[in-house]
Amino acid sequence: MSRRYVGEWVTRNEDQRLLTGHALFVDDVRLEGMLHVAFVRSDHAHAVLRGVDASAARARPGVVAVYTAEDLGDYWQPGPLLVPPPPIDGIVFNLATQVPLAKDRLRHVGEPIAMVVAESRYLAEDALADVVVDAEPLEPVTDLERALEPDAPVIHPQLGTNLAAHVVQRHGDYEEAKSRADLVLSRRFHYDRGASAAIENRAVAARWDGQAQELTIWDTTQAPIPIRNGLAGMLGLMQSQVRVVAPFVGGGFGPKIMMFYPEEVLVPWAAMRLGRPVKWTEDRQENFFATTQERGQVHDAEIALSRDGRILGVRDSFLHDTGAYDPYGLTVPINSQCTLLGPYDVPAYDAEFRAVFTNRTTVTPVRGAGRQHGVFVMERLLDFAARELGMDAAEIRRVNYLVQDDFPHDHKILFQDFQPLVYDSGNYRPALEKALELIRWEGFPEEKRRAREEGRRLGVGVVSYVEGTGIGPYEGARVTIEPSGRVRVATGLGTQGQGHYTAFAQIVAEALDVDVARVGVVTGDTREFNWGTGTFASRGAVVAGSACHAAAQAVRAKVLGVAARVLNVPEGEVELWDGHARVRAEPQRSLPYGELAMRANPLRGGVSPGTEPGLEATAYFGPDRGSTASGVHAVVVEVDAETAMAKFLRYVVVHDCGKLINPVLVEGQVQGGVAHGIGNAFFEKLHYDESGQLQNASFMDYLLPTALDVPEVSMAHRETPAPMNPLGLKGVGEAGCIPTGAAFAQAVEDALSDLSIEIREIPLSPNRLFELLREAPAPSSQGTAP
């Protein structure tokens, strides 16, 4: 009987290196003769760039080179479109991608204008002051509705419009549904921008080895293989001449899947041109201006329901702020549009969005990737409807859930992976009941009443969501048993703290029956594995994990074959046990894997024709489409109606990510996601003024929640196996943050139920909540006043 590793609580293989300071991060790369980079960036949100005079900077001692757009020659090219628009009828998509250095227009504050390369970062930063930028400000485009007016200034003159995309998706007949409805509610919702705020900023280092004719790039990217392929193409090198290493990375959260950032294109080019290693590490302020951001949508939504609370149809039309450029296509707004449907049976859906260019930093996915916007709209509509219908917030969800017989459920619209939005599996109602139990829903009115007697306001919220995860196209893995008996696993995606070194090791350890600590995983080094796409869309465990499983199964077959030959028994009589192959009936006849690995790779003697040497296999996995994770969040908050401060008292997540590989990793992802979600709900907001200037570009003013603000999440797992992959896995990376804003809004309203406020915007903040409280009508009866 072989040992179980998948699904077990296994401590993380990577932690020893991380906790003892032996993990390499890009900024740790220090090479002899290394040069350092600083960028001259735009102070203007929108301007004509008349000229850049770098002569004084070039003359400064210690400065090795200063590059402007002109100096790049043919290397100056707009970046690629990363995700083409899905094939939806009538779609409009206008492409404008970022450029390495601004040439004649400045389109957002922080856009790079010139690159200074110097002997030290200090010298490079000093030289920034010597570069004279001649810019003539233009009227900035910051309001989404104003941007689409015919007389609005146009950010990309070649497009003649600020419209980046227009997409309509429909199923059913919403008008007909509305005509039958007992209740129709419409509201406007705002969801504003936030930063990903990874602890490690972006960084790129590059070394050109002229003797080996080889370029090595260390990059904080989530997609090392596409970075290698792209840069090789741009630099005129063979892919095999370029090695990209994404070592340990201190948080990805989406912006690090964006490519190619200007800095990423310029640093390797400068290293080749100058023949010396070059490094740039983003500082926190640059991160606020130049690393992609997310959110910024305005929804006009309407829901039609029957008297018993059943959804007849939903209409949603929204504007999406894509920022200055749209290299990531429509992933974020399509996610919003699709995820709005949630776990519910929505017979008619009429959905439309317009993506709009603005003079703000470019928008690409950040953890949740637009899903939270859709969830917020739907969950809020249900809350308002429940109130109108006199229903319990849990009950209105319960009656609208898709049920077991509905799966697979086709929503008849397209998802971000261009596949129909089909839910593969799910079981929503038990998750809701479990969440209600854990949050103590039934006893809550009494708890609330008692707290009120003490002058405290408590509120509860419960919301549901689904999350499309684990999309294709594919990932691969190579599994090797070395002569030491240790196992090595290599895969192409990058790792940013998720625990890949453990999760993948568990999958392989179980297939081969070997101690999980003897399985070493390497990710994010293109020399180790040649193929792959990257870490995004909560897909690492699902797609790369399935590839690891397939490769391990292939190695297992080889082990059995070699063992049968060496032990001289039929293959069916060999079993694997704790790093050994042995004869089932005579367990004392046993060979360790290391010896089998040597036997499979002999120095002399014959091997059978057609046999591959060694105990090694490579496999790939590409699902037809993603797998649908789901869950319920419930929260109890305490709100001080005078200061408008809210405290999270209890937080419950009941999550279904299919089969668990490792509960400790899943729980870490969920807890971290909730922290992110709480930040987005109540603390974090990027404040832009009407001229496109970011006003809180530092952690002095941009509030992150701290350990004091984030409660320990009480979790329960449900496992509805995904039918789309052999291990039944679904993704979990984004689950914690998707419905947090919606849960919070419901709970705050409940805590202030006598003040009849409606929360239709995220992020809130104590300030904003204070304003809402002041705008609220006076309490209906005097007895309920604080």
Partner: protein
Amino acid sequence: MIVDGEYTFPAPRQTVWTLLQDPDVLVKAMPGAKHLTSTGDGAYEGVIRIGVGPVTAAEWSLTVLLSDRTPPESYTMQVDSKGTLGFTRGNAKVELLDEAGSTRMRYRADLQVGGKVAGVGQRLLDQVAKMMTKQGLEALSREMKTRLAEDQEAAPA
């Protein structure tokens, strides 16, 4: 950001008007301004030292342009400064009202701040702008008093 207000100078309107066109006086109305020279027809160039909160004081280039001049009643003042940490652009409408020997100045400035300084100093900018305006006007008033006193001393008995 709008900065507006009123200030009364203890001098006749024509005197105030004349002094406000003098770069040596104007430089005193801008705290941190190191020098200002006239480049003709209401235009001035100079250097100003600006620091806000966590943003270390640094030297910025400064241009001032006075336009729509209706002596001695009103003018528009465009002030631009830029440095490595960003830029400021201010457009101020200034009116001088004659009040029996003294002059009431009414001003309304629309101030834009951009770049790094906007990103980290925002919480303080409002206060800093108001404080700098107040300091500037007080300095201007002191300068006027000094000049008037000098003029009186120089005047024949």
